[in-house]
């Protein structure tokens, strides 16, 4: 229980789940992409799809993708800002399977060509969960520094990453492993108490068998 979840956040209205949470999803998605997004396909699910327009969910998601936080007064004008910043987007609806009523799927492309598909849910009070990355189930909040490593599903990768973090005195808060199939490709999501140094990310990205490294600094 955090008393600033009771009082606060400072946010642009009208809804902590449909507006503030949506802006945070956009913001975290941009951070996960790791570069400026130039294309975004957005699909709203459930209550997001039904009442999103009246709650400014669409504008809040785009605002977040442009790097605006949930208290940014420019959120209502984010569509215009997207045009200025060269972000092309479409917003539709989609019935996603087994997700929270306030969920969204984002397909993003960055200015350097990096692509990412994210499913995220807004849980209320502005809190969010990232529930899928590139088709693999995940479960993290974006409140901690988060390291996401896609690798071949082979022995030793968890040990490599964990020992490197230990060497840099980074404490692991949570660690989750997911894979699409045995011997296929795997994703580890590690939430840490300290920021992960840049050189760790570089070292990881060059390691054989690592497909993709994504790092998120908390909002």
């Amino acid at each position: 229980m955090n008393i600033f979840d009771i009082l606060g956040p400072v946010m642009v209205g009208p809804s902590s789940s449909h507006t503030a949470g949506a802006a945070k999803i956009g913001y975290v998605s941009r951070a996960l992409l790791g570069e400026k997004p130039v294309e975004a396909e957005i699909f709203l699910h459930g209550s997001f799809a039904l009442t999103g327009k009246g709650h400014g969910t669409d504008r809040a998601l785009i605002a977040g993708l442009l790097g605006m936080k949930p208290d940014d007064g420019r959120i209502p004008d984010s569509f215009e800002a997207a045009e200025e910043e060269g972000l092309q987007f479409t917003i539709g609806t989609m019935a996603l399977k087994e997700v929270h009523p306030n969920s969204v799927l984002l397909r993003l492309k960055g200015e350097k060509g990096r692509a990412l598909e994210i499913v995220a849910s807004s849980l209320g009070g502005g809190r969010i969960r990232i529930v899928q990355i590139d088709g693999i189930n995940t479960d993290f909040s974006g409140d901690y520094p988060t390291l996401i490593v896609h690798n071949l599903d082979q022995p030793g990768y968890v040990a490599e990453v964990a020992s490197m973090l230990s060497h840099k005195s980074v404490n692991i808060a949570t660690l989750n492993l997911y894979r699409n199939k045995r011997g296929g490709y795997a994703v580890m999501v590690i939430e840490t108490d300290q920021p992960v140094p840049e050189e760790v990310l570089k070292w990881l990205a060059h390691l054989e068998g690592i497909i993709k490294v994504t790092y998120l600094q908390p909002v």
């Binding site: 229980m1 008393i3 600033f4 009771i6 009082l7 606060g8 209205g13 009208p14 400014g56 009070g125």
Partner: protein, 289 residues
């Protein structure tokens, strides 16, 4: 668990020889690993943001649906003529204005939710203006009431989708009552009693927003939350007590919320949302606008 009960909070703070607001601050700062100064800075930021949101109200704005806007300005112009007196007139104006700012995508402070963002400022801002309360004192009241909110969230809920409107406007009203007793110089027991009276008055209130939007009846329910808090405080300061202790009132609110049909929990399907007037809004389908 620190927020397991308000009576426990009072007792523990006394055992530690700390003021309750300070005990809550320290417990939260320890949990987050931040300093007392950093915590105070965050709370100060919230209070400043509340006042700024009040100052930035724009009575010419309309929400995307067209359902909200302009009534705060009407109340501000009328407040001297209010049958309930100018102070309550100011409270009504502040509550509606904040609710409308929220509906019109302006910056507000969720307290405890965006839909109930008007209750606390509608009580605190006019009171502080009238009695020249220093900001430090308000910050203390905000910690105290955040502790009350923490207890409500732990024992019951502060989400309309879980507990109906009683969990949002009801909780905000209880929190505002506790804060106001603190500012008015009441005892900790009186902060508990005022919150109990305020919440009791709103038990059973359902969440039935038209078209699922945080507009009708949410904006004007902020008024009832704020005025209800003030009358609870007046009763308590006159010596009236609550027969049921606040922790038990909160449990009752939780129980009622758990047994509320889903159509009354923020789905936009029951109550006011199911009236012919509400259906007309849906037919217009402003979502395509």
């Amino acid at each position: 668990m620190i927020f397991s009960g308000y009576a426990d909070l009072i007792q523990e703070s006394r055992e530690k020889g700390e003021e309750l607001w300070h005990y809550i601050l320290l417990a939260d700062a320890n949990e987050k690993g931040i300093s007392e100064e950093e915590s105070m800075e965050m709370m100060n930021h919230l209070w400043e943001a509340m006042k700024m949101a009040s100052d930035n109200y724009d009575g010419t704005r309309k929400s995307a649906s067209g359902l909200s806007g302009g009534n705060g300005a009407k109340m501000k112009a009328y407040k001297e003529k209010c049958i309930s007196g100018e102070f309550i007139g100011e409270v009504i104006a502040e509550a509606i204005s904040m609710g409308e700012s929220n509906a019109c995508m302006r910056r507000i402070v969720a307290a405890p939710t965006a839909g109930s963002c008007g209750v606390l400022p509608a009580v605190l801002i006019p009171y502080c203006r009238k009695y020249q309360v220093p900001d430090q004192k308000v910050i203390e009241a905000l910690y105290l009431t955040a502790g009350m909110g923490g207890v409500i969230a732990t024992r019951a809920s502060i989400a309309g989708a879980e507990g109906g409107c009683q969990a949002e406007i009801g909780s905000a009203s209880a929190m505002a009552a506790a804060a106001l007793v603190y500012l008015a110089g009441g005892t900790l027991e009186q902060t508990a009693d005022a919150a109990a009276l305020a919440l009791k008055g709103l038990l059973g209130l359902v969440c039935d927003p038209i078209a699922g939007l945080v507009e009708v009846p949410c904006v004007k329910r902020n008024v009832i939350g704020a005025v209800n808090a003030i009358t609870a405080v007046d009763m308590v300061m006159a010596g009236v007590t609550s027969f049921v202790p606040v922790d038990q009132v909160i449990d009752a609110m939780g129980e009622i919320g758990r047994n509320m049909l889903p159509m009354y929990r923020e789905t936009g399907e029951g109550g006011l949302a199911a009236t012919p007037a509400a259906r007309k809004v849906k037919q217009q389908d402003f979502r395509k606008a």
